[in-house]
Symmetry: D2
Subunit: 360 residues, 4 copies
């Protein structure tokens, strides 16, 4: 097959680097354009990016010339069919619509358009049918391209773990307390003096994102609209001294009674579309259940499924809710929670909804 | 006044050292005996204790000769009226009753007898009237001395913060997710390789302690018995990379509606018996309310009230419960959550219930 | 006595906060002016400073109105006799001479003028006689005030430990490898992602500062000039995950043979002018010798002498140099290594060289 | 080719696990026996080992039955030709000679026999000719097998970096200050409370090991004996909060003048026997030179060459020694510094000195 040309918007930051790591040597995608701020445009990637990851910067990427984050500049650089966006929200606000208008498919990790009514907010294992919103979006906005988004990092892990419970037992309410990794705040986001021997019990807008995105993700597509799920949800978010991997304590009120063993089986048997389609980035299984008393742990479990699996553990009865369970859920925040989420969205799009897919 | 002679049982460990720090220069108590295992008996404290605290080992304590943890040995060393117990549970199981039988007042931080029906489990700000159980205990067991206990470190912070809510609005249910400090596990408790870039999402018996002790503490004394509080409670406990200070995210279902401002005032106006009696170790105020968006934080707030105050922050509405609020609570786990709790219990005892108190 | 009015230039940063901590309740000094950038001028200190220290912001300081960092603004605010400078070098370059010209005594922690030929670079325990340069400076520059400086944080600890060796045995060469705390880089200086599970083996200009300042400090004042010490010195500087306290491994080639016991005694007996004069901030003793095999350690020893003592340990023979010894030296980098150093300099100045001193 | 049967003695600890990681899927070796203490014998590896590594325990290893650390037990389990030893020194003291006597080739990471006159202490890139000692050892001791050893973790990194300098310019003296990772002390070696916000400036016997092993490694084999290198060497060793990777500041006095560029080229051009023989575990290149001002860093560089390369950086002039240079050297302490070192030794042995090698 011929590979599909893709680019990364905002390629120099933390999430941009994860995109590069995942797209370099991707079986379907050919990474051919990198954008950054105008200040960096015209320089080699090697010169403008301070590489943060433990795996080395791919040689062929290092030599690529970075272009301005603008549709024209990308076109001049050879163009792409899919533009993965690692842009900060305030830049994505303006740039992503420009790309969509210019005909690009924008697979975005930015928060800017997630909650727009005609923009699909997608986790392929959870709500692939919401991709139907693409047509609505294009019609509403008169765009030849379109934007699809993935949720916030702490939402993704949670919702993947909720999905099999939602399907099998129904969910009335969710309380979640997070312990989130430093990389979620960006490389310069948390000063070392702030977090040494410490916890930061506040992450700007994080609780709101969990509390709104979850309802859209578990909502129902009907006649051009998403009907949000009818779930009560409350979050408390904390930053801890961990490099990668968000760990969350989850308390769930189910609609129907479930034994712990049934809950465990629901997690283990969860098998969704990306797994059935064997999408390259889809983890098998999507949810890993650890049986040890003290797992999941960020350092030991965040790389499960190459960073794309959600790892759950300590599934047990909760005494507050009538049909209550509690457990822990962990996911790699910059892979499953960011760049990997966008790449999996694009893979689903290509395979399922896109004409070009037929050539794969 | 003449100072009251006190001793520390199990004086070499983490909590033992905190006892020494608090009792050295105490206005009412004269620290005159230190015990340890038979192996250490007969040696100077300086020789047998590896001192962990940032403040130096008090010179006069360093020169004290450690004796065996046995009533006879303590008597031979000059005796004490109050024996503070920092013993591990498996040793406290046997030793504490021996001391009580021999006429000592045992103010214990061990978990061994906390949930016994005739043993007072006390937080002076919360349930001082439970000291009535002393008589029951002495009668039941035929002891001339007695045992009083303080709760587990993660329970104390929580329950102090719950008390004003319980009194003013009533409480139906509590969900708590903890992020607990390393010192709670003892000096050798958590290997550095286990916690570097990591979280341990399990602490042995911690969730059970929170879920049972809270109900006894908020329970009602009537005719020689404690009627546990009728509250649903569920905990999820985690160990994080912090030296001292347990931080807890708390979700509470109240019985009666309360505005956030009313909740805040309930915390701020909370003024309990130890504060009224001006007990030397009582923090004023017992609960500190931080207004900043990102507080309390362990490193910045654990020393509030010399480590005896509970610090709360981020008080806000919770969307899951009908009359729900959520907030964060922080306390110093080896001071308010351990040694300081026992010392405050002893101060209350001396001032309120004990004949010797009249001379103070 | 009447207290001497002092101010802090650049009062909102890390070092500025340490100045406030040390000057609040100082027996000789009355902290009466705080300056910051023009942007903060006119606001209360409480509003413009994010307080980083574990001890709370002093109430009376919180209410002070911050003024612009300019001689006129300070004068209008009531004036001061001594201006402590916590300014960053690029601002100190311009502002400090303006204050000196306007008649202020500037006691500076900035690096800007340390190596100027007519500016005293002072550690009171080491080279108080270099204060003679004040006259030279005033004459050269036509200033009614003057600037005195203290060394870089990693230099101070080293040189205090070298001084008794230099005096008793002579020093030919010094090799030093540092492990420096995060606070030395300022609050935002080191991102947490940079240092988690890591070491940064480079600190900008640090090695040069150690290698030049040491020679000036141990140099000889003669006829208006400092003759640098004739010592070979080489440094390698590293940043590690420690909040406060620079730990240094030191290898010294002595001129005359010395037994380990003699070296230890030289450290222990070191008693310098600030100690003889009983300056309020002078630590007694200036050098603490730890005998344990594994000390000094930053967390346990940085607060020795209220953060003003240098702690040495593991004094032993070195096999490379003919008369070689090696040891570890530790000092609190933002107290002894910064704000405390300037305050001690000012105390010495007041007591010894200044007319106003007679009234103390 | 037929694979060579190998076993791991002491397979459950940190280094044992690294052996398993490196030997599982090794192209020449077939991991067929695992030993542990008698207490674990008879159980599956999965049951007795708490797996510490981020990569999962290999499935086929998990199912292997662990046997007692004794030649008979290993024989009964099917035998091996090479026994890799991850035993603690006090057990290796007794067990390794038993295995050698029983005919096994023991490739040991233990310190027990490193400095014995007839035991080869080998780094394949540095002194492969010392393998000649095997004959001496077998003759002296009447063993049909033999023991070969690799150096201490902090010595290996240092000596690999010294070797090209030693060969090209000669070395008079070396001063080294280390910042060593937690894994070097074993999983339970360093309590988290000891190292949080701290440095431990002492590692038992580490400085002695560096100071003696280096001289043997750079020594000359002649007529059945090693003549130690004539180098003065002094070390100061520290433990810091890093998971893996020992970073060392190195100051070297050369015999002949060398420009910085020449030193850099000596590192870059260093190409030794394991690389020429293309041994499976040999890193290419053995020494990686980083040009950035702030490298090597443990987290970013320890995995260079799959953890087998030594990474150097910041090569610059030193002012103390007449022909002095200084630089930083980093190596992965449990791969290049332990298990990987033993495996590379065994590969060299097989390829170069052993009859079986002819079949590979």
């Amino acid at each position: 097959m011929k590979k599909i040309k893709v680019g990364v918007l905002g390629a120099t930051g933390m999430v941009g680097q994860r995109f590069i790591q995942l797209l370099s040597n991707h079986p379907w995608f050919d990474l051919s354009v990198l954008t950054a701020s105008a200040r960096s445009a015209g320089k080699k990637y090697r010169e403008v990016a301070k590489w943060y990851l433990e795996t080395p910067m791919p040689e062929e990427v290092a030599e690529m010339t970075v272009v301005d984050t603008a549709p024209d500049a990308v076109k001049k650089a050879g163009g792409t069919e899919i533009a993965f966006s690692a842009l900060p929200a305030e830049i994505a606000d303006v740039a992503e619509p420009e790309f969509a208008k210019a005909g690009y498919i924008v697979a975005s990790n930015a928060s800017s358009f997630r909650m727009e009514k005609d923009v699909p907010l997608i986790i392929p294992e959870v709500n692939h049918d919401h991709l139907e919103l693409i047509k609505v979006q294009q019609k509403n906005r008169g765009w030849s391209g379109f934007i699809i988004t993935n949720p916030n990092c702490s939402t993704i892990n949670l919702v993947i773990s909720l999905k099999p419970l939602f399907d099998e037992f129904g969910i009335k309410a969710v309380i979640v307390s997070t312990m989130q990794a430093l990389s979620g705040a960006g490389y310069e986001g948390v000063p070392s003096m702030a977090i040494l021997d410490n916890i930061l019990p506040y992450i700007s807008h994080e609780e709101e994102k969990i509390q709104t995105e979850t309802l859209k993700l578990l909502g129902t597509y009907r006649e051009g609209q998403i009907q949000p799920a009818n779930i009560k949800i409350s979050a408390s978010c904390n930053r801890v001294f961990v490099l990668d991997g968000h760990l969350e304590t989850v308390f769930v009120e189910l609609k129907r009674p479930a034994k712990i063993d049934e809950v465990k089986k629901a997690f283990q048997n969860f098998n969704a579309l990306p797994q059935k389609l064997k999408l390259p980035t889809a983890p098998i299984p999507p949810i890993v259940v650890r049986e040890e008393i003290d797992r999941p742990q960020p350092r030991l479990d965040r790389d499960a499924g190459k960073g794309m699996a959600v790892v759950v553990g300590r599934i047990r009865k909760d005494a507050v809710f009538d049909e209550g369970i509690k457990y822990l859920a962990l996911g790699h925040n910059t892979i499953r929670g960011a760049a990997g989420a966008s790449v999996l969205n694009a893979e689903l799009l290509v395979k399922q909804y896109w004409k070009a897919a037929q050539t794969i």
